[in-house]
Symmetry: C2
Subunit: 333 residues, 2 copies
């Protein structure tokens, strides 16, 4: 094991006292100035924030639509659960650009919320692109195009002016050269950008403490997300449950177990945190998030601890094991 391997954080799932499975985690924490202050594993790991990029993807919209209501800006940053409240906010956003569900290019999947998915089945209805967790982002992109004078057609393509602008914003807000921002395609067909983990942490530090030429629009995104945590995700989902419990905390999940967190208030001042669970193991996300918050001096209330239970129960409700976090956060200064 090299030193880097040793520093990787681990979330271990145990059964009957035996380690059964574990998740390896790379993590970066930066301060408001963008300097790395702590890490696990490799803070320069090139990885995809996936939906944790949504606040960046919504920035051209926030800049072009200074009067956009907070709830619509929040759903533009969301990986939503497809509840009626989410769909209504997306529909309002679509209307502003004269768009309809037919203009959405995100594809279709059953709503994340199990109750909503079951209700669709009972009603004999198929899900539509509106139920896709990214439909708010796509509706926001359509409005962004109209307000910026870009064609709505082809808005998901890598060569579209909006996507070129979003790639530039990843570099600017992440504090890296444009060449360091690599491109793939996301589950909803827009470009997904890969960048170093510490650069992603810088984006979230910037959300916690906006500065520079986009400060006003970024502050509106922070306010929108923290004022409408339900719209950002949905029932029982981590962004929604975590944000109200820590004042000044903004958080956004990404697929394949990425997480970005901005902390406006901490003993070390405003901070940005980004981590990637290497196997995409979503079940370990809340455990890592709480462990790093605690390591950074945020007191863990019982309500916070309840988001990442330390015991595991089976289908019959019997306790069968536990979850242990070996964080080993290494402070660089």
């Amino acid at each position: 094991m090299t030193q880097t391997e040793m520093q990787v954080a681990r979330v271990v799932f145990t059964r009957g006292g035996v380690d059964e499975s574990f998740h390896a985690v790379h993590l970066a924490v930066v301060d408001a100035g963008g300097a790395l202050i702590a890490s696990c594993g490799n803070p320069n790991l090139i990885t995809f924030p996936r939906s944790s990029s949504k606040p960046v993807q919504a920035l051209p919209l926030a800049l072009a639509a200074p009067e956009l209501p907070n709830d619509e800006l929040a759903v533009a940053c969301a990986s939503h659960a497809g509840t009626p409240e989410h769909l209504l906010a997306v529909l309002r956003l679509l209307e502003r650009s004269g768009s309809t569900v037919d203009d959405l290019r995100c594809g279709t999947h059953p709503p994340f919320d199990a109750a909503v998915a079951a209700e669709l089945i009972r009603a004999g209805e198929a899900p539509t692109p509106l139920h896709h967790n990214c439909s708010g982002k796509h509706a926001g992109m359509l409005l962004s195009c109209v307000l910026n004078g870009w064609p709505r057609e082809g808005y998901t393509e890598h060569s579209h002016p909006l996507q070129i602008r979003i790639r530039e914003l990843h570099a600017e807000l992440g504090g890296v050269d444009l060449e360091q921002v690599q491109a793939g395609t996301d589950g909803c067909s827009v470009p997904a950008f890969a960048l170093p983990l510490d650069a992603a942490a810088r984006i979230f530090a910037g959300l916690a403490q906006p500065s520079g030429e986009y400060a006003e629009a970024v502050e509106r995104i922070f306010v929108a997300m923290t004022a409408h945590p339900f719209l950002v995700a949905g029932p029982g989902r981590l962004d929604t449950t975590l944000m109200p419990l820590v004042p000044g905390l903004v958080a956004k999940m990404g697929a394949e177990a990425f997480y970005g967190v901005g902390l406006r208030h901490s003993p070390r001042g405003p901070l940005g945190i980004a981590f990637k669970i290497m196997d995409g193991g979503e079940r370990a996300r809340a455990h890592v998030a709480l462990a790093v918050l605690e390591a950074l001096g945020i007191p863990l209330t019982p309500e916070l601890r309840a988001l990442a239970p330390a015991t595991l129960h089976n289908w019959a409700g019997r306790e069968v094991g536990g979850v242990r976090v070996d964080l080993g956060l290494a402070f660089t200064h």
Copy 2:
């Protein structure tokens, strides 16, 4: 990285040419004599086969019920999808011991098969313990108790004669001392036993080429599982799709991404394979299974390759990435 770490197999999920996520895998291959012939990572890793133990858990039943029809023996070894065909086989097995659904102590979860789960929702019905993927195992355990003169009551407890016998059988068939078989509790409340990976591989080598005092009953389990691959799992599930494609192959999935495979015919003779994907990432199981079969000289037909697609598509059907297996199987002799 130590040599052991270097030898761990990896399944890498890529996006846009960038490695996005990966799964680490430990693997052991043994021959019919139980000798280790190849491995990845640590072949002595202590881990839980979980439902891959079901052929062992069904052995007391096979020994006590020499006339049990193959389909009922197959469903006693199953992690089934809850289709009507599965439920009927479980009901027949329950009847043989004068038991009913109320005697099952497995708990309840929605059927694994999405179509069956949706049908229950449409019908406004709740799942019962019969739908639990382990209900066949539990029905088999109840019959095992009756035929062996053990109480049905408390059949899931660690101290019950049936569970004590099953622990002993893990040691005997795995070729290890009883002390090496550690105990936890499974998702369905019966004991789950942990043992070294190569011992689990020995159990599957024994299924491929039964020998010793249990040979006849073990052969019946092999025949039952390979003759009824649908009953062992269900629509689209790996055991069900893999077994018919490789003559003489018996396979059983376990939770947290364990896999056990017995190969009756290979260029190296009968073999047993066991692997554990360390993070419990089930999505990588088919990729590892096919890579190891190929490395052991089993020709991969297009039908086999289709079980583990090398390309990834998003919700809109667009290709977004791929899957790469870095197996690095090290042969010891």
